[in-house]
Symmetry: C2
């Protein structure tokens, strides 16, 4: 019997992404990380620095998926409101986490002040996630992993969170490039998809050196079924 | 009196984005387009090629915002299910749009077949959105604009949709770079934000040539208030 995968959602927090000023890359990093440890990323939401929006997104996704990753809004300034939003979402107190406070005081010395102490705020009961890159840790509250928005820091926090996460069987992938146009492949490809409901088959049109090079992507956690479906697709893609 | 902006949400559809295989760039393109015509992009959702997920996201966002943009899933293959999902979301019939059928037959000649006819499917009552780049149009159903997933095609369809959209006052932006660390700026910056609730002030930590170069971004549709807030921020950022 094939095990099932764990599931996850992601909440990308930040006005600067919705204004177009910053291109989000964190969703992709989270997606690849999830793939690697056998978690199926099911949904991403990009929301503004707005309490109601963040709380609603976190609550919708944490009820639906095994894990939720959030990025952004855990710095020292007024627009960093993620910690209090997660506390509101869970209905718990927002505290200054003693371990985080001790870390910050040690790392910052006499630069420690009230604003920087904001970076030690977590929902009560949260577990810290180490930040090996800069100051201010991430944290895990229930099934919600809260990380920084800066891509380099976010990636480091994901690695720190790895031991806290339970993965599942990895999705195996086969990719077939074909010069057969999508409109000609569509009917036989659809038939193969019907015969293999346990293999997800995607068709992505593309070009390479000015010639059609469509990408057919087959994905499954069952190696034998994947191999069988791949043989079937190869036969129609030549 | 200052007019209010129109609002929008975006639904980015595609398994390949959630698997990490493809990096989405369409959300950023839509964000910049919205900025340009005075629409505030409030939320983005990335969902799988899954009917229930697409219908739920479209219905949530179309009720909440003036416009919804969707990308992906309007090609000829079995995994292209966006047209039927939009029809389900609106509770209307899915039809072969006569004008789109005529276009496809003319453009494709004897390559026209049943699979390619899928690209002419729209919810009943939808208005076509011209695709000047490849075959298969986009369409607008109520307040929902449905476009292709290929970035080049999506960008062209956005331009085609422009006359169908009513914008509002543009957001004006000022950017200040500062070497003052975020943790030292946070308190006075927060006070300025409280005095200017009609100006959104964001603080984004960063480095340039190994030195602190934090970016302070001020945004408002009111030019006078923006100028006043910008003067106040400059004074603390030196």
């Amino acid at each position: 019997m094939v095990e099932t995968q764990k599931s996850a959602g992601a909440v990308i927090i930040g006005d600067e992404i919705l204004s177009g000023r910053t291109k989000d890359t964190n969703l992709n990093t989270i997606a690849l990380f999830c793939e690697e440890i056998g978690i199926a990323l099911k949904e991403g939401r990009v929301v503004a620095d707005d309490e109601a929006a963040i709380v609603a997104a976190v609550n919708a996704l944490r009820a639906r998926y095994d894990y939720v990753f959030t990025t952004g809004g855990i710095g020292p300034t007024h627009d960093d409101i993620t910690a209090e939003c997660i506390a509101k979402a869970f209905g718990v107190l927002l505290i200054h986490h003693p371990e985080a406070m001790a870390q910050l005081k040690e790392q910052l010395g006499d630069r420690f002040n009230e604003s920087r102490a904001r970076m030690a705020r977590t929902p009560e009961g949260a577990v810290l996630i180490d930040n090996p890159v800069s100051v201010g840790p991430g944290f895990m509250t229930g099934n919600v992993i809260t990380m920084a928005g800066i891509p380099r820091v976010m990636a480091a926090m994901l690695e720190s969170a790895r031991p806290l996460l339970v993965g599942g069987p990895k999705v195996l992938t086969e990719v077939i490039f074909t010069s057969v146009p999508e409109g000609d492949l569509a009917a036989p490809l659809g038939e193969i998809q019907e015969r293999f409901p346990d293999v997800s088959i995607g068709s992505y049109p593309g070009y390479r050196d000015g010639r059609i090079a469509n990408r057919l992507v087959l994905r499954s956690i069952d190696a034998a079924r994947l191999a069988e479906a791949t043989r079937a697709v190869r036969a129609i893609a030549q």
